[in-house]
Subunit: 269 residues, 2 copies
Amino acid sequence: MQQAIAILDSGVGGLTVVKEVMRQLPQEKIVYFGDTARTPYGPRPAEEVTRFTHQIVDYLLQFHPKMVVIACNTATAVALEEIRARLPVPVVGVIHPGARAAIKMTRTQKIGVIGTIGTIQSNAYETALRQISPHIEVVSRACPLFVPLVEKGVFHGEQTRQVVEESLSELKETPMDCLILGCTHYPFLTDTIASVMGPQVTLINSAEETAREISTILYHKGMLATSNKLPVHQFFCSGDPWMFKMIAQGWLNEQIKVTPVVWQVPNII
Amino acid sequence: MQQAIAILDSGVGGLTVVKEVMRQLPQEKIVYFGDTARTPYGPRPAEEVTRFTHQIVDYLLQFHPKMVVIACNTATAVALEEIRARLPVPVVGVIHPGARAAIKMTRTQKIGVIGTIGTIQSNAYETALRQISPHIEVVSRACPLFVPLVEKGVFHGEQTRQVVEESLSELKETPMDCLILGCTHYPFLTDTIASVMGPQVTLINSAEETAREISTILYHKGMLATSNKLPVHQFFCSGDPWMFKMIAQGWLNEQIKVTPVVWQVPNII
């Protein structure tokens, strides 16, 4: 099936999912939308994030995608079920894949989760984990300073280290054997987070796990791409296309073309 | 959904999938069938393995399972598509989950596969891997002595070490960064295989990966168990129930009840 997979995020975070889909499913074409004009979604009210998510999905439907991936944990937490109910194609979020990977990985049944304020307040990870395995202990922590760092392209250095250390100081003292990076922006900060948490804590990259599940679902629905031609991906963003392009090209390690999209005035907040 | 997951294998190998389903999906009820009277399937003709698989599936359908898991790589390689086509419930094999996990794991695009003669001759792993990622290099090797060792309960010791070393001697010299244990019996020998292959090769346990995908599919179909009561599993085998019970209780680390099933004479080979 040669139709594209549509992937959306509040900004550049979903590029961590894009990179993994490119690696694990090299024949699949991707259409990406990053809502960089309105990032971050984390501190916004659920109703607003839901409305923005519907709007981006509507934009992406013009490409007749075979699957829609909500590559933003905040949007998944509040809007996944609504979007799934209204689309005729499979809709994949980023919360359950990370939860299932953590359940596979943990031996102590003690799992940590970090995410945006919206994701952590929604309790979506705890709900997903407990739905499958009721005796799992979950400890969560919102890290609202991480997304702005990533959207500015500040992945390393003293400031990043300091923000990560302060944000994780309590979690570091809590027993756990894996920590879910419950925001698609966080894999940009993997090195620093791993070095702060130490080697006894396995980091679960929800981007990597989501790509794996995209593969599972496309296979089970008989929807895998069958062409051997390398696909040409398309990228759209609502904010500064130059900044988006710099971050995307650095992360994906290839040249891309970015098309800016200007939202109608009533929707800009 | 409180119906059971039906899991079948040529013998005790599928218990590696059972153990992982019990760990990753503790609320799910399992009905297991091990065809220990006719193990191993590996050296048998494809037509025969297919016929046996249909027969076991027919037996298991009396329990109205919500999903059927062919927890035998040989049977998956030859019979998955036929079984999937004839059942109204999801049918999961053990080859694609291992293939997808290897694609997620590899950084060198060089993947090893070990399995029974039937699995390796079918080229099922190579087909699954290349369908998703055409540039992956695959090197395979049949290890026909492993299943008889496991069915006899000989998981460790000098004889096991010697058989594993001889079987893997060529593969050990081939560059790869992960090795798929392409037979559900092989996780019983994990320690020895890992020590022979060395720390630079990650072993992919298809049992663990299959349980993860069972979780994914049940979730996406809205079929996860919702009861908090601990399920009571059922075990059937066609051969010596005492031997089956010894191996199963040792592996699963809990007491189980095993019901022997006697095949009609015309089907015994």
